[in-house]
C-alpha cells in the first residue's frame, strides 16, 4: 500500500485542534498569572482566578494534551501497523466530537460547573462525552492494531495500549458521582475516601496523559528523526512494565500529612522513590540512542527537542519523588514549588516532545520540508528559557513561602502573618508572568512555522496539480 493512502487529514485536524486549544490554554495561563499579583484582573463572575485556573489546566491537559495524543497516536499507529486506520470515518467523527466537547467544557467551566476534583473538574454530562471520545479512540487503536500488517508491535504501541486502558479505568472510577440536576453532581466517595480516589486518579492522569503517550512519541520520533535505532530493546521492556506497575501505587504522595491513613501515604512514598528507576530507564535509552552520534544535537534540530525533552522528564522524575518524602513535603507542599514542578514537566518534557513530533509529522503529511529550521531553533530557545525561568522562579518562591510560614521568633511565636507571606511572593509572581510571555512567544513561532509549512505544502500540490 502506498504511503499516501493513509488518512492524514484527520491527523492534521487533531494537530491543528490541539494547537488551537493550546493557545487558548496558554493565554488563559498568562491571564491568571497576572491575577496572582493583581486582583484587578479578575472579572467577576465568569473570569475570576477560581474559574479561569480550571479552564487553563483542562484546556491544556484535554485540549492540547489529549488532542495531540489522538492525532499523533493515529500517525504512529498507521506507520507501525503499516496500514490506514481501520475506521477512518469514526476517527473523523471523533475529531468533530473532540472539538465540540472541549468548547463545551470550557464554557461549562466559565459558568462554574465544577466537580472540584483536580483534573476531573468537568461535570457528569461532559464526562460522558469524554468517555465516548475515549471509546472511539480505543476502537480505532485496537481495531487497527489487530488488523495490522506488521507482526511485531513496536515499543510506542505498548505505551499507546497502556494509555488507552489506564485512562479508561482512572477516568470512569474517579468520576462516579450522584447527579443532582444536569449541571451538578456529588462525588460517590466521601471525605478521606474521596481524597484517596481523587489522587489515585490525579497522579495517574499525569502518568497516563503526560507520560506514557508522550513516551510513545519519544520512542517513535527520536529514532525516526535521528536515523539511529533505540539503544536497548530489553531496557525498554523492563522500563515499560515496571513503570505501568509502579505508577498506580503512588497517588497518596499528594496527601502527605493529611488525615489519610498513614500506611497508604508511606506505601505511596516508597513506590514513588522506586519510580525513578523505570523513568530513568527511558531517559538512559534516549541518551544512549543519540550517544552513538552526539553531533546530531547540532545537525538535526529535532534531536535537540527530544533530548532536552527527555532531560526534563528525567529531572522531573527525580524532583517528584524527592517532593514525596515527608521531610521535603512538609516544607514545599501547598507552596508555589509544586506548580513549578508541574510546569517543568508540561512546558519542558510534554510540549517539547509534542511540538517536535508535530514538526516531524506536518512536513511529512504536507509532502514538503519544514518552512524554517531557523524559526524552529528560535522557538526552541525561547521555550527553553521561558520554562527554566518559570520553574526556577517558582521553586524559589515555594521555598520562601514554606520558610516564612514556619518562621518563629525567639519567643516561639509565629514571625509572619499570612498576609505578610503573601505579598512577598508578588515580585516572583511578576517574574513568572514574564517567563510565561517568553514561553508564549516561543510557541507562537512554532505555530507560525507549522501553518507556513502546511501552506507551502498546499502551494506545492497546487502547482504540481
Amino acid at each position: 500500500m502506498s504511503d499516501y493512502d493513509y488518512d492524514h487529514e484527520t491527523v492534521r485536524g487533531f494537530v491543528l485542534s490541539s494547537v488551537f486549544w493550546g493557545v487558548v490554554g496558554i493565554v488563559i495561563g498568562l491571564w491568571i498569572s497576572v491575577q496572582m499579583w493583581s486582583a484587578g484582573w479578575n472579572i467577576a463572575p465568569y473570569f475570576t482566578f477560581g474559574r479561569l485556573r480550571v479552564v487553563h489546566t483542562n484546556g491544556l491537559a484535554f485540549g492540547l494534551g489529549v488532542g495531540a495524543i489522538f492525532g499523533i497516536s493515529y500517525y504512529i499507529l498507521m506507520r507501525l501497523t503499516k496500514r490506514p486506520l481501520l475506521f477512518p470515518v469514526l476517527a473523523r467523527v471523533q475529531l468533530y466530537v473532540f472539538n465540540i466537547a472541549i468548547a463545551l467544557a470550557a464554557l461549562s467551566l466559565f459558568l462554574g460547573m465544577n466537580q472540584s476534583l483536580e483534573y476531573a473538574e468537568l461535570e457528569w454530562p461532559l464526562d460522558i462525552g469524554v468517555v465516548i471520545l475515549w471509546v472511539m479512540f480505543a476502537v480505532n487503536v485496537f481495531g487497527t492494531i489487530i488488523k495490522r500488517k506488521e507482526e511485531q508491535m513496536y515499543i510506542s504501541l505498548w505505551y499507546v495500549i497502556a494509555t488507552v486502558v489506564a485512562v479508561a479505568v482512572l477516568y470512569i472510577v474517579n468520576n462516579l458521582s450522584i447527579p443532582a440536576g444536569w449541571d451538578k453532581s456529588y462525588h460517590l466517595f466521601a471525605g478521606v475516601n474521596s481524597a484517596n480516589v481523587e489522587w489515585w486518579y490525579g497522579h495517574n492522569a499525569v502518568g497516563f496523559v503526560f507520560t506514557t503517550p508522550i513516551l510513545a512519541m519519544f520512542y517513535y520520533f527520536l529514532p525516526k528523526s535521528t536515523g539511529l535505532p533505540i539503544y536497548s530493546h530489553r531496557l525498554s521492556i523492563i522500563a515499560f512494565w515496571s513503570l505501568i506497575f509502579a505508577y498506580l501505587w503512588t497517588g497518596a504522595h499528594h496527601l502527605v500529612y493529611t488525615p489519610l491513613p498513614d500506611w497508604i501515604q508511606t506505601l505511596a512514598i516508597v513506590f514513588t522513590i522506586f519510580l525513578i528507576a523505570p523513568s530513568w530507564g527511558s531517559v538512559i535509552n534516549g541518551y544512549y540512542t543519540v550517544g552513538n552520534d552526539w553531533s546530531k544535537m547540532q545537525t538535526n534540530y529535532l534531536t535537540k527537542f527530544f533530548i532536552w525533552g527527555i532531560t526534563f522528564y528525567g529531572l522531573q522524575t527525580v524532583q517528584g519523588p524527592t517532593q514525596g518524602l515527608r521531610v521535603v513535603s512538609q516544607l514545599i507542599h501547598y507552596t508555589d514549588w509544586v506548580p513549578g514542578h508541574v510546569h517543568m514537566g508540561t512546558m519542558g518534557w510534554v510540549t517539547m516532545t509534542v511540538t517536535a513530533s508535530m514538526y516531524y509529522i506536518i512536513p511529512k503529511i504536507s509532502k514538503t520540508d519544514l518552512y524554517s529550521v531557523k524559526i524552529a531553533n528560535t522557538h526552541f530557545w525561547l521555550v527553553l528559557i521561558g520554562q527554566l525561568m518559570f520553574s526556577i522562579t517558582m521553586w524559589i518562591t515555594g521555598i520562601q513561602q514554606g520558610a516564612l510560614w514556619k518562621a518563629v521568633s525567639s519567643d516561639g511565636s509565629l514571625k509572619y502573618t499570612f498576609y505578610e507571606t503573601l505579598i512577598r511572593n508578588y515580585p516572583y509572581w511578576q517574574m513568572r508572568t514574564i517567563a510565561g510571555v517568553i514561553f508564549t512567544i516561543g510557541m507562537l513561532f512554532f505555530i507560525y512555522n507549522i501553518l507556513m509549512t502546511i501552506r507551502k505544502g498546499k502551494a506545492l500540490t497546487a502547482s504540481q496539480g
Partner: protein, 310 residues
Amino acid sequence: MAGDIYRKPILFAIASTGMILVGTIVTMVYPMLTPDMHPKMEALKPFTALQLAGRDIYQREGCNNCHTQTVRPLKTEVMRYGEYSKAGEFAYDRPFLWGSKRTGPDLARIGGKYPDVWHYRHFENPQAMFEKSNMPQYAFLKEVKLDLTKVESHMKANDFPFTTSEIATLKDRTEMDALVAYMQVIGTSVRKKEVRAVAEASTRSREKNPFAGDKKAIELGRKLYADNCQMCHGENGKGDMGPSLADDVFFGVKGDLADDDYYEVINNGIEPGMVEEGRIAKSSMPSFKGTLSREQIWSIVAYIRSLQGK
C-alpha cells in the same frame, strides 16, 4: 514464549490492565472496604440546606484552587490555623475540598473564627481589608438569590435531612448568606475553645499587666493594634465590626474587665456562647495565640488601657 505478548495485542492489553490494577486494588479499592476510610466525628452534623448551598458556591467559584482545608500535624501549622485535621471531620464532604495550594490561607478552622460581618465585608471587597490581597471580589453574590429548587434537589442527592419549610425560609437569602453560613461551619466538629459555665467567674489569682503605663510598650502596642486589631475594632478602639474598646461595655454588659481578661480574650479568641467572667459572647474573634507573643499581647493591653485613659 514471553516474547509472544508483543505480537498479541489483546493479551498485551489484558496484561497491562492487570499490572495497573495491582496498585489500584491495594491502595485504593482495599482501603475503601475498611472502616478506617469512613470515620465520623461524634459532633459532626450533616450540612443544613443553607450551608450546603454555600458549599456549592465554594465549589462553583473554585475557592479550593487557592485555599486548602486541611491542617497538617506540624507545630507551626497548628499554631497558625488551630487543631490539625481529623479524618472523621469530612464524612459529609462529597467531594473532599482539601485543595493542593495555599495561595490564600488554610480554611479548615475558619468556622467561628470571625463574626459573620467580617466575612460579608471581606467577600465583598478583600482589598478594603487587606490592601494588597490578590483575592477576587465577590460582591455579586449579594445580588443573587438562592434557587430553592436546586437547593432542595442538592439536599436530596446528598441524602441530608431537611424539611420543605426549612427550605422555604431561605426564600430571600442570597448566595452570599449561604457562603458565609458555610464558612462558619467548616471545621466546627472539632472543639476549639474551652467553654466554661455561665456563673463561673475567674477564680485564678489576678495577673497584672507587667507593662501597664510603660510608654515604650504602649507605642509597640499601638503598632500591633494597627496591624492586628484595627480592621475590626476601628481606629483608636472606637469600634467598627467589633465592639468599641474605649468605652466600658464588654460582651454587651456594662462594667470593665480586668487586665488578664483582656489578655485571655486576645490570646484565646472568643466564639458565640463562650463565657468570660459570667458574660456570654455573642460573636467571634480570632485567637492570637501563636501569632503574638506574651509581651506583644500585654503591650496591646497597655495600649488599649491608654485609649481608655487608664
